[in-house]
Every structure is written in structure tokens, then in C-alpha cells.
Symmetry: D2
Subunit: 342 residues, 4 copies
């Protein structure tokens, strides 16, 4: 960590700071410049509260050199984490297709979609029971009943299920849910992250729509630091000025997160683009960028118009996409160089 001091800083305060840093087991090297004095700190600064230092009267600026996270860092854990969900592996060499409707709407709907996506190549089932909606007047999901219907679909098809939690108080309902999803709006709901850290169950953590990769990793750190090591990171688009797509899918997040961390990374091309026609090319691109899986919205074909999503694929579209994605994944794993896919 680099601490830049203000000109003419109070020597007593500086002495205090140096003493305090020494007590934190940090070595301090001082460089006197023309207008500034720079302190270079050597040692483990992960647990140093950067805001405390920054807040000092004598400090002009603080720059972190070392990464601020530990458990999620690839440095501390060079091998890919592989998370097993009912025998299915997320991370490592495997690639998973998690598909299903935006919302659970009825037993018939979720069960029929579950069977169809399974036949088409999906390895897990997604579906929203609790729905975060911008307006209080929009459909809020089937809630507890929705979870029950997902469990029926799981029983029928054997597909593990992924569904979103919106409050800690809902936790008891998630006992048989295979993967608990934390939505983008709750990525920094730190009290909830702490509770999820106490579980021993995979957490799918979506990047907040205006959160940096570092913030995403620090939110994952909350969970791992609590003892739950099964976190799946998910890029789902960030908020930018571009309005053609609902969000801007930041695919460079995939190799970046995999370089910084050992956790698996999946991509949600449906919410990020908000347009069904962009889902297939972005799915192929995500696979090519090295993602460990995809989270895709699929609706059941027929005429029940009012519940289909603008961003959802039809079953035929999903079936065709599934084949092509698997094709890219195996091409990249079996190419002449023999290298893994990034």
C-alpha cells in the first residue's frame, strides 16, 4: 500500500501513524519528494481499513497495490474451485447450461419447461419464485409456492434448481434448493451475505449492475470468510449509457475474474442483453471467453402470450444454441495446442 502525505504534515500525527502501522506488523519505507512524502507499506495489508488511513488529516491519498481480498484470491488458492451440485460440477473443465423461465407461474408451466430444457441439453433448472421488481405494482412472483413448484420440477426431472433469495427471513424455504441465487440488487446486502456465509450450500452471486469486479470479489469474500466456500460468480451486465441493450454485458469480466480468483464464473446473457436475438451470439462468446456455464431464460413455446419474456429463447432456439455452445467448448478444449481454453 502506498500512502501519500500532504505537504507540511504535522510531525506528531505522522509519528502516531508510523507507530500504528508498526503495530499492524507492517514495514514502512519513506520517500521524501519535492511536494510529497510517500510511505510504501510492506506486509499483509488485506485487513487494513483503507478508509481509516485515507481519513487522516495528514494523508493526501492512499493507493492499494496488493489486492484487498484473501480467501477468493487465486494467489492463495491457485487451482480452480470446482463446486459439485447433485453430481454436476461447476468450474474446472465442465460447462453447465442452467435454463428455465424468468418466473415460475404454475406447476404445469415449470414442469413442462423443466422436461423440455433437460431434453435440449440443460443440466440445471432456473426459475424465479421471489422476483425483485422496480415497481410495487408489478408481479412479485409466486414466492413460497413458487419454490414448492420448483422442487416438484426437480423431482420430476432430476435437474438441480437455482432460485433467488430476497431476504434472510426466506431462508427456511430454501432448504432443499440446490443453489441459492443472490441477485444483482443484493450483491452488497452485506447482512444477507454474512448469513449465507454460515450455510454449506452453493451461492450464485450476481454482479451488481454498477459494481466493479473488485467489489464483486469482496462480496464473495464476505461469504467465504464466513466459512462457505461454494460461491459461483455471475456476470449479468452492467449499467452504462447505452440503451439499445438492457445492460452492457461485460464479457472481459470472465477472464479477469478467473485471473484474480479461483471461483467459477458463469454468464447470464438473457438479463444482460434483454433481447432474445442477442442471447445466442453472446452465449457463444461467453463460452469462447472461458466461462464455466450459462444462465439462460427459456419459455415454453405456445400461445400463452402474456407470460413469455422478450429476452427468453424458445425451446427450439435453446436446443440449437445448446449444441453450438457445446461445440465451441469442446473445440477449445481439444484444439491442437492442448491448452485449456484461455
Amino acid at each position: 500500500m502506498i500512502v501519500v502525505l500532504k505537504e507540511n504534515s504535522n510531525p506528531a500525527q505522522l509519528e502516531n501513524l508510523l507507530q500504528w502501522l508498526k503495530n499492524m506488523n507492517l514495514e514502512v519505507h519513506k520517500t521524501e519528494g519535492i511536494h510529497q512524502t510517500i510511505l510504501s507499506l510492506v506486509g499483509d495489508t488485506t485487513e487494513l481499513d483503507i478508509d481509516l488511513i485515507r481519513a487522516l488529516d495528514i494523508v493526501d491519498e492512499v493507493k492499494r497495490i496488493q489486492e484487498p481480498f484473501k480467501c477468493v484470491s487465486r494467489k492463495s488458492h491457485p487451482k480452480d474451485t470446482v463446486i459439485k451440485v447433485n453430481g454436476i460440477a461447476i468450474g474446472g473443465k465442465d460447462f453447465q447450461l442452467i435454463a428455465g423461465p424468468c418466473s415460475v407461474e404454475s406447476e404445469e408451466q415449470i414442469c413442462s419447461i423443466a422436461q423440455s430444457v433437460k431434453e435440449a441439453g440443460a443440466t440445471m433448472l432456473r426459475g424465479g419464485a421471489f422476483k425483485p421488481r422496480t415497481s410495487p405494482y408489478s408481479f412479485q412472483g409466486m414466492r413460497a409456492e413458487g419454490i414448492q413448484l420448483l422442487l416438484k420440477a426437480k423431482q420430476l426431472t432430476g435437474l438441480p434448481i437455482v432460485t433467488e433469495i430476497m431476504a434472510i427471513s426466506q431462508l427456511p424455504l430454501f432448504e432443499e434448493v440446490d443453489v441459492i441465487q443472490v441477485g444483482a440488487r443484493n450483491m452488497q446486502n452485506f447482512e444477507m451475505l454474512k448469513e449465507l456465509g454460515r450455510l454449506r450450500k452453493p451461492i450464485l452471486l450476481k454482479r451488481g449492475m454498477s459494481n466493479t469486479l473488485q467489489e464483486l470479489l469482496l462480496s464473495a469474500e464476505y461469504i467465504l470468510d464466513g466459512g462457505n466456500e461454494e460461491v459461483i460468480l455471475c456476470e449479468r451486465g452492467i449499467r452504462t449509457f447505452e440503451s439499445y441493450t438492457r445492460n452492457t454485458l461485460d464479457l472481459s469480466a470472465v477472464p479477469a475474474l478467473k485471473a484474480l480468483s479461483h471461483l467459477p464464473v458463469i454468464v447470464d446473457p438473457s438479463h444482460s442483453t434483454g433481447k432474445a436475438s442477442l442471447v445466442p451470439p453472446m452465449s457463444l462468446a461467453a463460452a469462447a471467453a472461458g466461462a464455466d456455464g450459462l444462465l439462460i431464460e427459456v419459455h415454453h413455446d405456445p400461445q400463452h402470450a402474456l407470460c413469455d419474456g422478450q429476452q427468453a429463447l424458445t425451446l427450439n432456439e435453446f436446443r440449437s444454441l445448446a449444441k453450438r455452445v457445446q461445440g465451441i467448448v469442446s473445440y477449445l478444449q481439444n484444439e491442437p495446442t492442448g491448452e485449456a481454453h484461455v
Copy 2:
């Protein structure tokens, strides 16, 4: 609401849609263009789920003309809402200075700051007990104990207190808190908003760092729709590419929110700029833009260096600022034209 249909849309699906809209008591006018057919809906579309329409196979685009909110709208309630907190009025002609430290750290600290900011002109006390921190390794606040210390400071000074809640389960601790603050990261924690809608206590709702004004108003709508009409909106800076300031203070939000809604609007110049030197000019600007109050971080002067905030004012700075802000407020209220200040 305008619904643009796709070319050659299925007539049976269109008939379904038209029937469904009629059942919602909406009148529909159809305009046939060259490539598109446009439906103009007349009637109350507030409670129409725009995503449901957008999701239809036959729909190309939906554009809302009417505002999507109702309770918070100035159209439904032309007069300014004035919220009384222990005899202090937020909204209308009054202007409130809410000041205090970033975090509560000790009884001595919070009580001495409370007394000093009161003397300097503050009308309410702020202070964090539960602290949302990006890293699990940063100080998380004094939590329940912090609330107790705030209540002591209130008893001592008579200043009403404002402090942040981070989870519904903390609600019992907030019984004697005068104004419950919902932080930027929880602006779309909809389950919590619903609970706060059941209270009869003022809620200070901060704009999320990447949320639009419309989203902020819809989050307020969750609370009002639940029956709690006392919501104070707070602009605290949005996330942009600019890195000189911690966030970008969007002051045009003040007149914009006041035009769209009857709710009071205050400004937090401390978190938005992240730099103490920018707090005074931005406070004056917020007052000139028509804000109903300010939320300002102030620390106690002396050498307890490690707890002071980079963005916090000293007591002297706050005292001088308080006078100038009040000067601007009264200049604008008493100017020759006799107009109110926007």
C-alpha cells in the same frame, strides 16, 4: 402508453392483447404505419406491468408516456409534503441541517459532537451504527450499542436522530430512532421497503449509486403504497466514470424530484464528493437548487486522527458553512420577486 407492434404480427395474438387491455379498462387507438402498427393506450396505466406487454411475441417496443408511480406523484398530491420529526419540519419552507460523524465510536465522541453541531446550527443528528462496508475486513460499526449511544446523545441535546438500517431483523432496535435511513445499497431491497411501508415513522431513502430518478421514486412508492407516507428522498451522488470525486453529485435531481413528486428532497454532499473541501460549495449549491436540507459529516476536531473522515468537516468549517447556507436560503425566500426558490 404506446405499444409498437412487430410487422406482420399474428392476428389472433393481437386480438388477445386488445381484449386483455380492454379488460384493464384501457381505451386503445390503433395507428397503422408502413412498417409498424402503433397502439396508443388511454386510461390509468400505472398498475400495468410494462414487462408483461413488452414480453409479447407480437410487441416490438413499449414506451410509457404516463409516469409509472402514483402515491409519490405531484400530480396526485400537488402540495409539498411536510414531515414533522419531533417538532422539526422537513419539506415546505423549512431547511434542515442534519450533521454528525460517519460512525458512532464511543459515548464521549457522539455526545460531544452532538452538542457541538447543535450549537453550530444543526437541527438533527446523524451517525452510523450499522455500517455497510465493501470489505468484510473493514469496521462494521458498533451496531446495537451504537444505536444506544445515539439515543443518549439525543437525550442530552434534544436533537432527533437519523441512522441507517441494514436488515429487517434490526427493526426492533430502531423503535426510538426518529428517522430510519435506507442506504444507497438497499434502495432496491424491496422486501425491506415493504416492511418499512408498514411503519408510521419517517424514512430517509437514499438514491442508489446507479439508480435513475424514476427508480428512486418507485422505491419510495413501495413505502407509500404500504401506508407510510413519510419518505424523505436523498440525493447522494451517482457512479460515473469520473474518479476525482468519490461519486458524481447529481444536483439537478433536486428540482427534478421536486417537479415529479411532493416528497421532500435533501442532499448528502459528504458521501457524494468524498472530499471535505468540496462539501461547502456543494452545500451552498444544493441550497440554491432548492433542497430541503443537508446531511453532512462532521468530526470532532482534535488529534484522534484515526477515526476522522476524509470527507468530514471540522466543527469550525461546519459552523461557518451553516451560516452561509442559511444566508442563501433566506436570500432566496425573501428576494424581491417573492417567488419560492425554484
Copy 3:
């Protein structure tokens, strides 16, 4: 186009507007709502100045339904535009690798890189002679001399060259340049776009770092409207809050631009990510998303450290990447379904 009128709008002004629209050969349908009157315009609104309408006292809002561009639109020209550069085709079924150094630095440097990238699979040569630099104190490029050296490298290798123009006055120097690049900072240098529209030479138009896809297409429209139909669009990353990468590569721009327009679309993974390690995965992803080519920075291996770019690949890295990209391209073109790759 939809025009929403203000409540109680002046009837004489409305009559003026209706008359004026009729003179523009537009049909107008009027829908009277509770608070608003909506005009739906039918006809060709491409050349309607939306700001003129929006500016009217009686107008509350204007929403465009039809796309505002014409020459670049896929509607007006359903087949892919294929641009021939010295016998090399950009667009359609072909895929081009444009590689070379960030800046031309010496004859030896550019000629040796040109030969090496050609052997490694590049089909065109890139290199900067005029360099847009944020600071006046940074290296501004070899300018006219740099162009001469690029031409020598072309003579030596046969590779067509792509290089950036920064001012109209430099145009005479570009006579033998094969493709003129317009950098992100000049995407809305409209006077220059008009001049380039008078040429009969391919223009590589980079998306501005905070420009929407619609703005990019309108800038291309300036060139096509001038008579020059050979425009290659280039996604090179947009500016967002994320600071891990230099910019955020918006890969969904590739299928989106190809849906909206018939022009070829290439991707620059070097400038967008700013990190050499992210270039290979993003190159593969761009190919999978359906791009028509890549613009990649490559430096010559050895020890002349001070000129190599943080985001540039070594020759070995480029050689290996070139093979894998071509592999993905042929996989997608030859897959069982026989579909083109989006």
C-alpha cells in the same frame, strides 16, 4: 414517430404543427388521453429533425419509433456489405486479422513486425503514425514519416495498411493508405466525416468511448450519405465505472450492429481491455459473437523494452491466437446446422 403534447396546449400552435407535418408528407393520427394528447406520425421520418419538434412549446416529449438512419440500415440493404481491400474481403463470410504495433517507431521496427505478423496469419497491417494523446507531453507519433514507413512495410509484405487520420489537412498524406481509420475521439468530428464521405476509399470508423450504437451508425451515415459506401464499423470498448480494464468491451455491439446495419463490424480487443492477458479470450469471444475481423496490437519480441505496449501481444502469443480464432470461425461456419454464425 410519437409526439406527446403538453396539457392545454395552444390550439393555434398545434394547428401550425399539424400543417407543417402535413407539408413533410406525414400522416398524423391524434389520440386524446386524460392528461395528454398523442400524435402518431406515419411516413418517412428519417429526415425529420427531432430536436425541432421537441423544442416546440406545446410538445412534452417526442419518441422515435423508426430508426433515424437510412443508407446504413439493413432494412434498406438486406445483404451484408463486403469491402474489398487489395483483394482482401471485409464482411460476408471472410474473417480478417489486422495486426501491428501501436505506433510506428522506425523502418526496422515496422518492417520486421509486418513480416512476422504476416507469417503468423495477419491479413492486414495496422500502425499509428498520428497518435491522439491525452497529454501534450506524450509522444505524438512519427506523423508524415510514419506513413512513409508504413508504405514501405506494405511494399515489402503486400499487406494492406490501416492507419489513423487526425485532421482533414492530413488527407493528402493518406493517398496510398488502404484503409483510413477514424479514432474514437473523432467519431463525431462531423466536418471530417463529411470530407471522408467524398473519398472512394474504405474508412474504419471506431465507436466513440461514450457513444451509443445509434450515434455510431449516424456517424457512418454521414460518410455513406456523402457517397462513400465503404465503412467498416469497429467496437473498441466504452467508458464505464469499471477500472480494472481500460474500457469495457461491449461485445453485444457486434450482433446488434449487424442486425441494424449491413456494414462489416470488427473488434479491437487491445485498446478495449488495455491488458495483453485479456486479448486472447476477448478475441475468441469476438469471433464467436460474429465479428468480421479483429484489430490487434502486436509488438516485436526482443529487449527494446521502452516501446512495447502493455496491451500488445508478443509474436508467439499472436501466432497461437491466430490459429485458435480461425478454428472458431471455421467451426461456426461449418457446424452441422449449416447456419451462418448468428
Copy 4:
């Protein structure tokens, strides 16, 4: 400047770098950490090309501590620059109101507006002759003829004129123009900035819609470095995700720029908000934040509807605003503390 080296960096390359830095007259202090080695450079690093260092194989990261600009820095020139335009002072204690129409449309229009805004309190006249328009089909301005009409309005009223240049080749037309405006889209048109640096005439430099304050100051540095010291900075809103306003006015830019630089700073509340109703509160706020002037769009009242701007004030609105802004400015200059207004 801080240079962070990669782990296990090549000693010969490091030696090269250290030697090269020494030749630049920089002192280098080396701190060996666990995973990193940090070089702290002491001396004048303004003219150091940060990208060259960053590009080195052995370098992981470079962080600038010192500001990268020199001529525009307040450190090098602590007193406010005051620019005289025909006897009118921009900067220092004065406050200027620059008003006029968006575009020059006819002699009658510009002359009548010029007289009216002068009577209402304007001290300079603005008006567009060359208009940067996103679409080639939108009105491009009266161009050379527009400049002639502005000069007539100047002759009539004595108001100095401000108008935008879009290409270097237009420069001869600007000989009698008092202040040359560089629009947001040309803020990084470096070749044009260099030419303007050769003039001895005030340049009004608008911040690009996605440019940082540092980039704005470096663009100003191009002009000052060329010898032209008369640059007026202008905040005109930045591009963000918020769509209620056309841009987001970043008022904290005012005190920030004034802290970093000695140049005067004005604000354009018309383009930034895009809504006439927001112009008065944002104008008052800009004055309160310490701006040196405002650039405001005003149209002539009556029925010539098709040319008025949605964001333009009527003359009555401008007259009333001018009084209130002057009131705020004098309140802040004459307040008891006797301090200047920031």
C-alpha cells in the same frame, strides 16, 4: 510517480529502466515487498510518458502522484487567471452571463435576441453558426453566414460574441469573433487544440461528455503549452445512465477545477439538463458553487415555434433569473465572513 514491478522481473530490463529514469533527472527509491517491488520516483514527472513506463514487460502498474499538467496548474500559478474580453472580465471576482439562441437563424432573430438579452442583464452573446449534429439530416447551422450575422449583432449591441468552431479550416472566419468555443465533441481534437494554442484569443473549452476533469485540464494544457494562456473551462454535463436529463450536470467540477487550476470556470445549464425548467435552479446552484459565469440559451418569445429550444429560456424567464443569480453572487461576496465564495 509510483512504479510497481512484476514479481521476478528480469534484472537486465530493470537496470535499463533505472538508468533511463536517472537520465530523465529522476531520483528513484526502491522498496522490496513480499510479492512486489515498488519504485518511488522523485522529481518532475510531468513530461514523463506514463504509457511508456506502463508498457514495459517488467512493470505491473504505474500510479501518478503528481498532477500530469503544468501550465494550467494552480500550483504553478496560484492567482486566478482573469481573461479580458472587450473590457469584460472572466475570472476573479466578476460573474458573466453569456446568453443567446442555440442557433443563429436570421439577422432579425439574432439582433433582436441580442438586444433583449443585453437589456435583461447578459454581458456576452452566444449563438451557433456551425452546429455539430448527430444526424447528417439535421440542420447544420448557417455556417459562414451565421458568423456574419453574429458580428452584426455585436456591432448593434456592443456585446462580445462566443461561437463554436468545428474545424481548423474555419479559423479565418473567426478573426473578429471574441471567444472561440470548442465543443464537447472536439475537446480531444488535439490537432485543433494545437492550432488554437497558436492564437492570442480566448478559447472557451467545453468538457467532453465522457471526459474526466484531468483530461479536460490536459486539453487546456495543449492550448497553454502552445502559448495561448486565455482558456475558459466550461462544465456542460457528462453522460451517465440517467435519462431524465439530457446529461448529468457535474457541479462539483466547479470547485474541483478551481482547486486544481487557475483558469476561470463557467457552467452551461442549458445543454447539461436539456430542460428549460431545470435551468434556473441549476444556474443558481452554479453561482453558489463558485462558477465565474453561465452560458444560457434564450429564445425570442413569440410564435415562431419551430426554432425554439426545449431547453431555452424565454426572455422573461432569463430576466428574472439574471437578477436572482446576481443576488446570490453578491450575497456570497459580501457575507459577514468576508471570504470569497468558496
